[in-house]
């Protein structure tokens, strides 16, 4: 059992590209930390640096008190699950799982017992004599897990282990992996581009972009109070709606503000302002305002809503998902580019807003609707730095 500490890790490639900038993280003993980011953000590089498959340009890596920068991968006592599983095709499932033990010269009887135990945990007992080529995707994934858990390593490293599975299996394996990790209590460093995996599996989530760590926190905090525009847009599906808006003081006696969002106005409740005293300094200036789709509701479904926290819109697209209905409309305001390279936003679509209405909403395409905005759940960010406005 062990803690992991990354101190100012930097990775420079020979061509001058800096893949990781000043990455500092700490994992508690038994913690499940998910590193999430868009493709090409350096998250796999970070994992491979911990594994020893990539050199560390500068900074320190500690497991417990031991500095591991110059230790060979085989001596780091870490087990890794690869995206393509990397099972040894010439070996049976049992031989695959036993391979790490064999390299450590564990006696045969003990080896067999441990393989059986691992197979039991992963429900692979029936498959032990098969070759990887004869296994389904989910079974291969579990063999890769088996190879990792059989050695009782100090640290699990997982590099997008679920991305090659179909959607249904992914949901199941997500729960299985999290369950096994909790059962074994092994510190785990998990890399994914899928924010759903990050939110559901991790004790804590670390969001990374272009090799720079953006925020590390519990899934709830990352979701509830993102540190910057990128994290706000990246976590959550559908993404948070982000617009430029200008903040003006209100005439009302309680000292609230109002937002000019395109050609509409939206009241900012006094309690929101009270929570963010520094918002006062933005008065009369443009800010970035963020609204999560679930904090928008069809006014006809919830009529008891302050009238100054409503927007007018014309429905462009309606997606009925059964439990809820996604409605897209245009707010005629300037959208903000969060910097996520995977996002499909294109500039012609500026002002597009997504709302998650309850299923009882009757809004149809090209209907004129009123949309309730839950003013208490608004997010504010600085327009220049993209940092959250708090405190």
């Amino acid at each position: 059992m062990s803690t992991v500490t990354l101190k100012n890790l930097v990775k420079d490639y020979p061509n001058g590209f800096r893949a990781i900038t000043d990455l500092s993280l700490h994992l508690d003993d038994g913690e499940f930390l998910v590193l999430v980011g868009p493709s090409g953000c350096g998250k796999s590089t970070a994992l491979r640096m911990i594994a020893g498959l990539e050199d560390i340009t500068s900074g320190d890596l500690y497991v417990g008190d031991r500095r591991l920068n110059d230790v060979a991968p085989k001596d780091r006592d870490m087990a890794m699950v690869f995206q393509n599983y990397a099972l040894y095709p010439q070996m049976t499932v049992a031989e695959n799982i036993a391979f790490p033990l064999k390299l450590r010269r564990v006696p045969k009887a003990e080896r067999t017992a441990q393989v059986l135990q691992a197979a039991e945990i992963l429900e692979l007992t029936e498959q032990l004599d098969k070759k990887p080529a004869h296994l389904s995707g989910g079974q291969r994934q579990r063999v890769a897990m088996g190879r990792a858990i059989v050695r009782h390593p100090a640290l699990f490293l997982m590099d997008e282990p679920l991305s090659n599975l179909d959607a249904k299996l992914r949901v199941q394996m997500r729960a299985d992996i999290a369950g096994i990790q909790r059962e074994l209590g092994v510190t785990t460093f998990y890399v994914t581009h899928d924010q759903v995996e990050a939110m559901t599996m991790g004790d804590r989530v670390a969001v990374i972009k272009d090799g720079v760590l953006q925020q590390v926190d519990t899934p709830e905090s990352i979701y509830g109070s993102p540190d910057n525009v990128f994290v706000a847009a990246f976590i959550g599906s559908p993404s948070m709606n982000l617009f430029e808006a200008s903040l003006t003081g209100s005439d009302e006696p309680d000292g609230g503000y109002s937002l000019a969002l395109g050609d509409q106005r939206l009241a900012v409740p006094a309690e929101v302002v009270a929570d963010r005293p520094s918002l006062a300094s933005y008065e009369g200036r443009p800010v970035v305002v963020g609204i999560r789709p679930e904090h928008l509701e069809d006014a006809s479904v919830a009529p008891d809503h302050p009238d100054d926290q409503r927007l007018d819109a014309t429905v462009d697209v309606r997606e009925a998902l059964g439990a809820e209905t996604l409605v897209h409309f245009n707010l005629n305001a300037q959208s903000v580019d969060s910097g996520d390279p995977d996002a499909l936003d294109d500039l012609r679509d500026t002002g597009r807003c997504t709302a998650r209405f309850s299923a009882s909403s009757q809004a149809r395409v090209s209907d004129q609707i009123r949309v309730n905005v839950d003013g208490r759940k608004l997010h504010f960010f600085d327009r220049q730095t993209h940092l959250a406005i708090r405190g």
Partner: protein
């Protein structure tokens, strides 16, 4: 239910006609040779070719295989050892290739019978044993080529820097040159070395460990070593390129997984990568074997007396030799047989080698 057959189109007929023509074109010389080996000399020598209806005889084979009035006992002993070694090697390869043992015992038995004593060949010159030369040259060329090719191919597959590309392009360039172009430079080079060995007297030093009986002077020309070195050199670009193309198919994660599991880089190569590569190794080895076993020109020039089988057989037909053309044909058929058997056994791997890319992670 009736199976639907593809409609017979003119293009299909033409395609098959061309393929049949090609097969006939390449097989005819061998059939001709095989026919010659079972004819009487009068039919072979007749002005109008006798294609069928001739009287057959096994005389040529009988003369060639069994007419041993003065056997070279050392040669026989060496032959038995070589056959034992070949059988063991075949068995090991066979286990890797996952054919059953009976297959290989059977194959080895056939090869043994097919090769059983070429008395005439090793009587042609009392001191040398052409069969042993052939086997030694073939195996050494295979082993050395594959050893270098595996390491170089692996390195070049994993290293993507500019110098790796340069090595590959240079290798390709050498592969593109005709092999014939290398014969004379090798000959003169070897001659220079031999001259130096003689003039400095180094060639006649007695090295305690390599003081083989029957070898008085150290030299390059006219030794098996010369043939092996030359063949390894001309064949190396091919082995490197072919093995590299197989290594590229093996995902990098394979050795990374092994290293995470606790293997050193060398252990990862040996225990994970090489077992995946066996089909590739067998295919590349077979191509190398064919090259070395069939080589004529290099042997003829670099080893004027240390002949291998192809050179020895050609010598049967010409010069002062009193042997008949039918015996030469019988010899040709006999030395082709083992190769044909090996190819049939491993043709699956050969085809995979030709269409490199069968190794999937």
């Amino acid at each position: 239910m009736q199976l639907s057959r593809p409609p017979i189109r003119p293009s299909r007929i033409a395609l098959h006609a061309v393929m049949i023509l090609l097969v006939v074109w390449s097989v005819t010389p061998f059939i001709w040779t095989a026919q010659t080996s079972i004819k009487f000399t009068r039919d072979v020598a007749s002005k109008t070719p006798v294609l069928w209806g001739y009287e057959t005889t096994a005389n040529a084979y009988r003369n060639f295989w069994l007419d041993s009035d003065d056997l070279n006992m050392w040669g026989v002993l060496a032959f038995i050892l070589v056959v034992a070694a070949v059988a063991t090697a075949l068995g090991l390869i066979g286990r890797r290739a996952r054919h059953g043992w009976p297959w290989f015992l059977g194959a080895t038995a056939v090869i043994c019978v097919a090769l059983w004593r070429f008395p005439r060949i090793w009587e042609a010159n009392d001191e040398y044993d052409f069969l042993v030369n052939s086997v030694v040259v073939t195996i050494l060329t295979m082993v050395i080529s594959l050893s270098i090719g595996l390491l170089a191919g692996y390195g070049l597959a994993r290293y993507t820097g500019i110098s790796g590309a340069v090595i590959l392009i240079v290798a390709l360039g050498f592969r593109a040159l005709p092999r014939t172009a290398f014969v004379l430079p090798y000959f003169f080079g070897a001659k220079e070395i031999d001259d130096w060995l003689t003039s400095t007297g180094v060639g006649s030093w007695n090295f305690p460990l390599i003081d083989f009986p029957g070898i008085d002077t150290l030299q390059i020309l006219d030794t098996r070593l010369a043939i092996v070195l030359a063949l390894v050199a001309v064949n190396q670009p091919f082995t490197i390129w072919m093995l590299r193309s197989f290594f590229i198919e093996v995902p990098k994660e394979m050795e990374e997984a092994a290293m995470m599991d606790g293997a050193t880089r060398l252990q990862a190569f040996r225990k994970v990568i090489i077992p995946i590569m066996w089909p590739a190794i067998i295919a590349t080895g077979l191509f190398t074997m064919l090259l070395a076993y069939n080589e004529y020109l290099f042997v003829r020039v670099l080893a004027p007396t240390e002949w291998t089988l192809p050179v020895a057989i050609v010598s049967l037909t010409g010069g002062e030799s009193s042997r008949t053309i039918t015996e030469a044909a019988a010899a040709s058929v006999s030395i082709t047989l083992p190769i044909v058997i090996v190819i049939i056994l491993f043709q699956k791997h050969l085809v995979r080698g030709l269409g490199a890319g069968a190794v999937k992670g």
